[in-house]
C-alpha cells in the first residue's frame, strides 16, 4: 500500500510559485490594459498510486499496479539485456535477440505466434534500449491467461530458427538502408559513438551492415541464455487485475525460469577532450542540417539527478525553454530545439539537438553554444526557475493517469535500485532545487568548450563560415560513415 503522503502541498506551492512567475511575465509584456485571468481552484490531493511487489525465488521481481477503468492487462518485463551487454564486435545482437524471440519457440512457430496474438487484438513483442531489453504482452482482460502464456513462452523458450534469423537480417539491412538516408539517424548515432568511443553505450542499437552480417543463431542463443535471466529483471503487471491473482499467475508463468547471474557493466571509459570536436557528415542532397551537441551526462544515481532535471527543463526540456525561445521563437530558425539527459547505471549522455535550413546552420549552432554558456554565466531568475519546477511537479496527475504511466515510473526507479520513498519524495526534491544549484551544475558538469558537435547536412552550404568561426572541422561523406569505429571512419582499404 502506498504511504498517504499528500501531493496537495506540492500543488499548492506550485500555485504560489506561479503567481510570482506570472508577475514576472507581466512586467516583460507591453503595457496594455489586460483583463485578470481567473485564479485556480484549490488543488486536489493526489497520492502516488498503490503498487505491490514481490520477489520470486529465482530473483524475478514482480510489481502489480491495479487500474480497473478499462478491461485490459499489460505485462512489461524489463531485463538487463540491452546493447550495453553485447560482446565487442556484435553490434545489433541485443536487438536481434529481442526481435527473434517472437519468431519461434519450442512449441510455436512464427506464424502461430503471430496468428495467436493477432486473433485477440493483442500485442506481443520485445525491444531494446541502452541497458534494458523489454518483452511485453498487452491483451484485453479476458485474455489474461493467453497474455502470460505467450510472454513466458517467448521469454523462456525461444528457438531462434535459422530461417527466421535470415528473414530478420534481410529486413534489418533494408531498414538500415532507409535509416542511413535519414539525417537525424546519422546525427544521433554519430554523436553517441563520438562521445562514448568503444564503450558499449556508443554502439548503434540497430548494428551496421557489417555487424549484422556476422551474427549467427548461436550468438543469439548464447546472448539470450546469459542475459535473458530473472536476476535483475522486473515484471510489471498492470491493469484490470487483482494483486494476489497477478502474483499467482506470475509465479506459474515465470517460476520455472532458470536463475542466472545478475549482469554488470564495466565502468565508463569514454574518450576525453580539452576542446570542442566538430564533425560534419556531408549529405549533399540535404536541405536542412541536423545539429547535435553532446557530452557524457550523469548516472541515474548521481546526487545531481534532480538538479540536472531542472537544469534541463530551463535549457531545453520544455516548450518554454531557452533553446526554444532563442532558436525557434525569436529567430524562426527551427521547428524544434531541445536538450536531453539519458541517465543510465553509468553516466549516460547529455545532448542538445536542433535542425535548421542549410544556410542558417552556423547561426543555430552559435545560438546553442550561447544558451549553454548563458546558464553558466548568470543564475536563473525565480520567474524562470519556478515554472520550470512546476512543469515537472504539476504534471504528476497526467503521469499517473494510466497504469502504463505508473509502471514506467516504478520500473525506472526499481531498475536503478530505488524504491517507494524515492517515488514519493521525487517532487519535493525537485522543488528544493535552487538557482545556485543550477548555476553550479552548469559550471561543473556541463562543458560547452569540450563538447562534441555533429552536423549532418550539405557541407558546401555552411563549411566556410563554420571553419571561419570554429577553426578545425572534420568532414566525412555520409556514405563513408562507419558507426563501429570510434572516429566514424572506415579503415582505408
Amino acid at each position: 500500500m502506498s504511504t498517504p503522503r499528500s501531493w496537495k502541498t506540492t500543488l499548492t506551492a506550485a500555485g504560489l510559485l506561479l503567481a510570482t512567475a506570472a508577475a514576472g511575465l507581466a512586467q516583460a509584456a507591453p503595457a496594455a490594459k489586460k483583463a485578470t485571468p481567473p485564479p485556480p481552484a484549490a488543488a486536489k490531493e493526489i497520492h502516488f498510486p498503490s503498487f505491490e511487489q514481490k520477489t520470486l525465488p529465482n530473483g524475478l521481481r514482480v510489481v502489480v499496479i491495479e487500474q480497473h477503468e478499462q478491461p485490459l492487462v499489460s505485462l512489461r518485463l524489463m531485463m538487463n539485456a540491452g546493447k550495453a551487454y553485447e560482446p565487442a564486435g556484435k553490434a545489433g545482437l541485443a536487438e536481434a535477440t529481442a526481435s527473434l524471440v517472437t519468431k519461434g519457440t519450442a512449441t510455436r512457430n512464427a506464424q502461430q505466434l503471430a496468428e495467436t496474438i493477432d486473433f485477440v487484438g493483442g500485442n506481443l513483442g520485445a525491444s531494446t534500449g541502452i541497458e534494458a531489453a523489454y518483452a511485453t504482452a498487452a491483451v484485453t482482460a479476458d485474455q489474461i491467461d493467453l497474455g502470460f502464456d505467450l510472454l513466458s513462452d517467448v521469454v523462456l523458450h525461444p528457438s531462434f530458427p535459422q530461417d527466421e534469423l535470415e528473414r530478420w537480417r534481410r529486413q534489418a539491412l533494408s531498414g538500415l538502408q532507409i535509416d542511413l538516408q535519414n539525417a537525424g539517424y546519422l546525427a544521433d548515432n554519430a554523436l553517441r559513438k563520438l562521445i562514448f568511443g568503444d564503450y558499449p553505450y556508443g554502439r548503434p542499437t540497430a548494428g551496421t551492415a557489417q555487424s549484422l552480417a556476422g551474427l549467427s543463431r548461436e550468438d543469439l542463443a548464447s546472448f539470450h541464455q546469459r542475459f535473458w535471466v530473472p536476476g535483475g529483471a522486473i515484471l510489471a503487471v498492470v491493469g484490470d487485475v487483482k494483486p494476489a491473482d497477478a502474483f499467482a499467475r506470475a509465479e506459474r508463468a515465470f517460476g520455472g525460469w532458470k536463475k542466472g547471474d545478475v549482469a554488470e557493466l564495466p565502468a565508463l571509459n569514454a574518450p576525453k577532450s580539452d576542446k570542442p570536436r566538430i564533425v560534419v557528415i556531408d549529405k549533399p542532397d540535404a536541405v536542412q542540417t541536423e545539429i547535435r551537441l553532446g557530452q557524457v551526462g550523469i548516472a541515474y544515481r548521481d546526487p545531481d539527478l534532480f538538479t540536472a532535471e531542472v537544469y534541463n527543463v530551463v535549457l531545453g526540456g520544455n516548450p518554454s525553454a531557452r533553446l526554444y525561445e532563442e532558436i525557434r521563437r525569436k529567430r524562426g530558425l527551427s521547428y524544434g530545439a531541445a536538450s536531453f539527459f539519458q541517465q543510465e547505471t553509468q553516466p549516460g549522455f547529455f545532448e542538445v539537438s536542433t535542425f535548421t535550413k542549410t544556410e542558417s546552420t552556423v547561426d543555430a549552432l552559435g545560438l546553442a553554444f550561447e544558451v549553454l554558456h548563458g546558464l553558466q554565466e548568470q543564475p536563473v531568475s525565480d520567474a524562470e526557475l519556478n515554472p520550470a519546477k512546476t512543469f515537472i511537479t504539476g504534471g504528476f496527475p497526467l503521469d499517473v493517469e494510466t497504469a502504463e504511466g505508473i509502471a514506467a515510473r516504478v520500473l525506472e526507479a526499481m531498475h536503478f535500485g530505488y524504491g517507494r520513498e524515492f517515488l514519493e519524495s521525487y517532487d519535493d526534491r525537485i522543488s528544493k532545487v535552487g538557482a545556485a544549484d543550477i548555476q553550479r551544475f552548469a559550471r561543473e558538469r556541463i562543458h560547452p568548450d569540450q563538447m562534441t558537435v555533429v552536423l549532418v547536412g550539405n557541407a558546401s552550404g555552411f563549411l566556410d563560415p563554420l571553419k571561419k568561426k570554429y577553426g578545425e572541422v572534420e568532414v566525412i561523406p555520409a556514405a563513408e560513415v562507419d558507426f563501429l569505429r570510434p572516429d566514424l571512419r572506415a579503415p582505408k582499404p
Binding site: P71, L72, A110, A114, G121, A141, R329, G395, P397, E401
Partner: protein
C-alpha cells in the same frame, strides 16, 4: 521513416465502438461506454463534456471545423500556418503566454491540423480548468498577431516542412500520391502546403481566416476528466457566450469527379531509398455505412504479422519491408490505399501484381470467418487500449461530433462493426476496388531513372 508516415495515415481511420460478442471466439470484453453531456450556446458553439474523477486532471480541446480542404487556391498550407499563429497572442494573453502557462502548471498542450479540422488541446491539473477556458475563449474572440511574429512563425513552419517533407527518406510519398489520386478536390494537396504558397501568405489573410472560420458557430469545445458539468457549463457560457456568432461558414469545396479510368505515375527522387508502390481507390465519405466494411478489409490486409499482405509479401515472398492496405476515411470522399516498400532489387511491377491480386481476392471470394472475427477483435482491443486517458476520450468524442456529425457514434460504432459480414466485405471490394477507380504510383530511387534522356512522368516538387 515510412513507418511513421504510414502510422499517420492509419491514425486517420475511424475507431470502432463495441457491442456484445457474437461468435464463440470473439473477445468477451466491452469497452466502457462514454457518457457524454452536451450543451449548445446561443452563438452556435457546441460544448461536450465527459466526467471522470479518477485523477485530478482534465483535458480541454477546441475543435475548429476548418482544415486544409478549406484553403483558397494559392494559399495551400494556410490552415496549418494559422494554427501556429493561435499561440501568438490575443487581447488579454500575450504572445507565447498560453503555452508558457500550460507548461508552467505541468500541463501538456499542442495543436494539429489535418484536411478537415484544426484541433487545439491541453491536459493539465484540473484546478486550472477555468483559466484554460478563459484563455481559449480569448484567442477565439480576439487573436492579435503582429506582422513580425507572423513572419518569424512562417519561417518555423517552413522548417517544419523541410523536416517532414523535403529532408527525410520517403518524405514526399504522401504528397505525390495525393497529387496523383485527386484532380480537383483540395485533398490533392498535403496539409503542410507548398513553400511558394507559404511565402505568399499575408497578415491580412490571417485576419480574414480568423473572422471566417474561428467563430463559435464553427467550434466545438470538449472538456474531459475531473470536471463539474454544471460549473463547466457556467464557465463556458461566461467566457465564450458573448463571442459574436460569425457568418455561415463557406463550404464551397470543389467535388472530385468520378474517376473513369486507371491513372498511373512514376516518381524518381534521391530521397526515395527503396522502391515503393502505392495504389489508391476513391471511397465514400467517413459517415458512409460502407466505411465499416472497408475498415474490416484493411485489418484483414494489414493488421499484424498474420495479416494477408504481411504474410504474403514480407514473410513468404520476402519481397517487401512493408506492405498493407488501409482506409483513409475523411469528411469528404477519401481513399483506400495499398502500399508496399520493396526489398532492394525487387521489381515494382511484381509488387503491383501482388497488391492487385490481394484486391482481386477480396473481390473474388468472401473473407473467412476467422479473419472476420479477428478483424473485429482488433477493433475492440484498439478501442480498449486507445481510450485510456481523458485526452483519448476527448479525441474520440470530438471526432464523432465534428467529423462524423453525430456524437452518439462514439458508443454506437461497435454495433456497426459487429454487423459487418463477409458478404459486405466482398461487396465493398467489388464496388470500390475496381481497375477504373484506381491510381497506381511508383516511387522509385533516383538511381532507377532511365539514363537514355527519355522523359519520365516525374513531377517536380
Amino acid at each position: 521513416m515510412p513507418k511513421a508516415r504510414i502510422a499517420r495515415l492509419a491514425g486517420l481511420i475511424l475507431l470502432a465502438a463495441t457491442a456484445p460478442a457474437l461468435a464463440a471466439d470473439a473477445l468477451k470484453v466491452t469497452p466502457p461506454k462514454l457518457e457524454v453531456r452536451e450543451h449548445k450556446l446561443a452563438n452556435g458553439l457546441d460544448l461536450l463534456m465527459y466526467e471522470d474523477h479518477s485523477v485530478p486532471a482534465a483535458t480541454v480541446e477546441v475543435w475548429y471545423h476548418v482544415g486544409s480542404k478549406d484553403e483558397k487556391k494559392g494559399r495551400s498550407g494556410f490552415a496549418h500556418l494559422f494554427e501556429h499563429l493561435m499561440f501568438k497572442g490575443s487581447a488579454n494573453v500575450g504572445p507565447e503566454e498560453h503555452k508558457n502557462f500550460i507548461s508552467s502548471i505541468g500541463g501538456r498542450y499542442n495543436a494539429t491540423t489535418d484536411f478537415d479540422r484544426t484541433l487545439y488541446y491541453q491536459s493539465f491539473p484540473s484546478n486550472y480548468l477555468e483559466r484554460v477556458l478563459w484563455m481559449e475563449a480569448d484567442r477565439m474572440r480576439s487573436l492579435d498577431v503582429s506582422d513580425e511574429n507572423f513572419k518569424s512563425e512562417r519561417e518555423v513552419v517552413k522548417e517544419e516542412r523541410r523536416l517532414r517533407v523535403e529532408n527525410p527518406p520517403f518524405g514526399r510519398l504522401f504528397g505525390v500520391v495525393l497529387d496523383k489520386t485527386f484532380t480537383t478536390h483540395p485533398y490533392r494537396i498535403e496539409t503542410i502546403g507548398s513553400m511558394a504558397d507559404l511565402n505568399a501568405a499575408t497578415i491580412q489573410d490571417v485576419r480574414d481566416f480568423h473572422s471566417t472560420y474561428y467563430v463559435p458557430n464553427n467550434a466545438t469545445v470538449v472538456v474531459s476528466g475531473d470536471l463539474n458539468p454544471e460549473q463547466t457549463v457556467q464557465w463556458v457560457e461566461k467566457y465564450f457566450g458573448s463571442i459574436p456568432k460569425g457568418k455561415p461558414i463557406p463550404r464551397d469545396i470543389p467535388k472530385e469527379p468520378a474517376q473513369k479510368a486507371e491513372r498511373r505515375a512514376v516518381d524518381y527522387h534521391p530521397n526515395t531509398p527503396l522502391p515503393a508502390v502505392v495504389i489508391t481507390y476513391h471511397i465514400p465519405e467517413a459517415i458512409h455505412p460502407d466505411i465499416y466494411a472497408l475498415q474490416v478489409a484493411g485489418n484483414i490486409l494489414s493488421a499484424g504479422e498474420s495479416s494477408r499482405l504481411y504474410r504474403r509479401m514480407i514473410y513468404e515472398k520476402q519481397m517487401a519491408v512493408a506492405a498493407g492496405g488501409q482506409t483513409i476515411a475523411l469528411e469528404d470522399p477519401g481513399v483506400f490505399f495499398f502500399y508496399s516498400i520493396l526489398q532492394p532489387g525487387q521489381k515494382p511491377e511484381d509488387a503491383e501484381k501482388e497488391l492487385l491480386a490481394a484486391a482481386d481476392k477480396l473481390r473474388g471470394e468472401p473473407v473467412s470467418d476467422a479473419e472476420l472475427v479477428k478483424a473485429k477483435n482488433q477493433f475492440i482491443s484498439e478501442l480498449v487500449f486507445g481510450r485510456q486517458t481523458a485526452q483519448d476520450k476527448a479525441d474520440a468524442i470530438g471526432n464523432a461530433k465534428v467529423i462524423l456529425d453525430d456524437v452518439t457514434l462514439v458508443n454506437r460504432q461497435v454495433a456497426e462493426y459487429q454487423k459487418v459480414t463477409a458478404a459486405d466485405v466482398q461487396r465493398v471490394a467489388r464496388t470500390y476496388l475496381t481497375p477504373e477507380n484506381r491510381t497506381v504510383v511508383y516511387m522509385l530511387p533516383e538511381s532507377m531513372r532511365p539514363k537514355t534522356g527519355e522523359k519520365s512522368e516525374e513531377k517536380k516538387p
